[in-house]
């Protein structure tokens, strides 16, 4: 095969790959559009009111990209919270970044406190 023909084949090749993957991109976008349920009006959510005695830590900095968002800590040190999240992820066999923790509250066994994760 001559170099000139090779150049034509190469240009054709990269064009076909681009065309195929661009069409695939369009299909994926359409797939997303048609399979994503329309957003419903958000129902009023009653905010959980923590007991007065609990210390609430809420991260103020922006969410890390790729993470599942922030987590509220009620009377729980950051290190303990990190350990709890790691244990839950391990027990569920799921990567940590696929789980969403809304809040972690220290359980007060004597008072029969609820645990919320």
């Amino acid at each position: 095969m001559s170099i000139g023909t090779g150049v034509v084949y190469s240009l054709l090749g990269i064009a076909v790959v681009f065309a195929a993957l661009t069409m695939l991109m369009v299909i994926v976008v359409l797939l997303y559009r048609f399979t994503t349920p329309k957003a419903e009006a958000p129902a009023p959510v009653r905010a959980a009111e923590p007991p007065q005695t609990q210390e609430i830590v809420e991260f103020g900095f922006p969410e890390a990209p790729g993470s599942a968002g922030g987590v509220k800590l009620y009377d729980t040190p950051e290190k303990d919270a990190a350990m709890v999240m790691a244990i839950v992820a391990d027990a569920m066999g799921k990567p940590l970044n696929e789980l969403r923790f809304l809040s972690i509250r220290r359980v007060d066994a004597e008072n029969g406190g609820s645990n919320e994760i």
């Binding site: 095969m1 170099i3 090779g6 150049v7 084949y9 190469s10 240009l11 090749g13 990269i14 076909v16 790959v17 681009f18 195929a20 993957l21 661009t22 069409m23 695939l24 991109m25 299909i27 994926v28 976008v29 797939l31 997303y32 399979t35 994503t36 969410e63 890390a64 990209p65 790729g66 993470s67 970044n97």
Partner: protein
């Protein structure tokens, strides 16, 4: 006494040591040991490199009769059927049938599909463009191989090294240029292992500090239904567009469907583990066996190794350049470093993007964003392979 010495003499004369008459056999044995060292000690793609190196070692031990390339020559010429090859061949000849008929690469793709999460790609479909751009290396290496006077079918097989996808390279080469299978497979897997060394200098050279520090927005959530529909839709679309790629892409998407359905966990587990591991052993050993001294040690092998490196470099450049373009078009929202992950090599290339991104900005997490182009690269290289097969098969 004389009888014993006669027996020992006969034993010695029939031993492999007496048949070790060509210095190239020794060179290949040493080379196999070096590759074993790289796989075991340096941990360069050990799951494949150890098998390939051991197959190489076995095939170059004289007198073992494990692999007979002359039988495969006769098969290709039509002078011999598979039944005769099985009858007259050795153990590695029999294992090699799986490569020859394209069985192993497809089954490996089944396992790869079962292990791959296409979620990041579905969350950011533009990743597919980066996966396409990184196939630039394939066609650049193809052209370079033509300039070096390789026949078109061999040039296409050399080019596919740039897809950074071992099973795809083996699949295409076993059909288009079986004589070059060993150097192409070894080049592909070696460079995949060396991606953390090959890519970073190119990434730094082609991007600015400001581009590298770009923090990308969180990926949108992807539903289970979308993940189930994706492999079905891709199979229908791509296999209709390029029917020649159906064995590879069909298996990749079947594996992924088994993973995502939620009702075939056992099958997914088998595809990811038992089947994948078994086929990996067969594939690696039989590919290594094709590296016999009289066919492997020549100037063309060195040229293939060099062209393979070029293919990887240009694949990285292609992905980065489109990444830079997307950075500009998106108003600085896309970090161009994720473009280099389009060269497949899952997940190594994505990890390199993550590491380089964090070097520029320690609070940056690009891994999930880079996984999109990374898995798109697998689809892109399969499409490129199907196209090359359609053109030169």
């Amino acid at each position: 006494m004389g009888g014993i010495s006669a027996i020992l003499g006969r034993l010695w004369s029939t031993s492999g040591f007496m048949l070790l008459t060509d210095v190239r056999q020794v060179v290949m044995i040493v080379l196999a040991c070096i590759l074993l060292y790289m796989g075991i000690h340096k941990k360069y793609e050990p799951l494949l490199l150890v098998g390939i190196a051991f197959g190489m070692l076995l095939t170059n031990l004289p007198g073992s009769g494990l692999y007979h390339p002359e039988l495969w020559d006769a098969y290709i010429e039509g002078a011999m059927g598979l039944g005769e090859v099985i009858h007259e061949g050795g153990l590695l000849d029999i294992l090699y049938i799986g490569v020859k008929i394209g069985l192993y690469p497809s089954l490996i793709f089944l396992g790869v599909g079962a292990m791959t999460d296409f979620g990041p790609l579905l969350a950011n479909p533009k990743s597919l463009l980066l996966g396409a751009a990184a196939q630039f290396g394939i066609f650049t290496a193809f052209l370079m191989a033509l300039i070096l006077k390789f026949p078109a079918n061999v040039a296409a097989s050399i080019g596919i090294i740039g897809g950074a996808d071992g099973p795809t390279a083996i699949w295409l080469t076993s059909i288009l240029a079986p004589d070059y299978l060993a150097p192409i497979a070894i080049a592909a897997y070696s460079y995949m292992a060396l991606i953390p060394l090959i890519q970073p200098p190119i990434m730094k050279a082609l991007t600015t500090e400001k581009e590298r520090t770009t923090v990308m927005e969180q990926l949108k959530p992807v539903s289970q239904r979308q993940k189930i529909l994706f492999p079905i839709v891709v199979t229908i679309f791509v296999c209709l567009l390029l029917p020649s790629v159906a064995p590879l892409l069909g298996c990749l998407m079947l594996g992924n469907l088994l993973r995502e359905t939620g009702v075939t966990a056992r099958l997914s587990d088998t595809a990811q583990n038992g089947l994948m591991n078994t086929v990996t052993i067969f594939l690696s050993v039989s590919v290594g066996a094709t590296a016999r001294y009289d066919r492997f040690l020549n100037v063309r092998t060195l040229a293939i190794i060099g062209l393979g490196l070029m293919a990887f470099i240009f694949a990285t450049i292609g992905g980065l350049l489109i990444g830079k373009l997307m950075y500009k078009l998106s108003g600085g929202k896309i970090n161009p470093l994720i473009g280099s992950a389009g060269v497949s090599a899952v997940p190594m290339a994505a990890r390199v993007s993550q590491v380089e991104g964090q070097k520029a900005n320690p609070s940056n997490f690009l891994l999930m964003h880079a996984m999109g182009p990374n898995v798109a690269g697998v689809i892109g290289s399969a499409v490129a392979a199907g196209l090359l097969l359609a053109l030169f098969g």
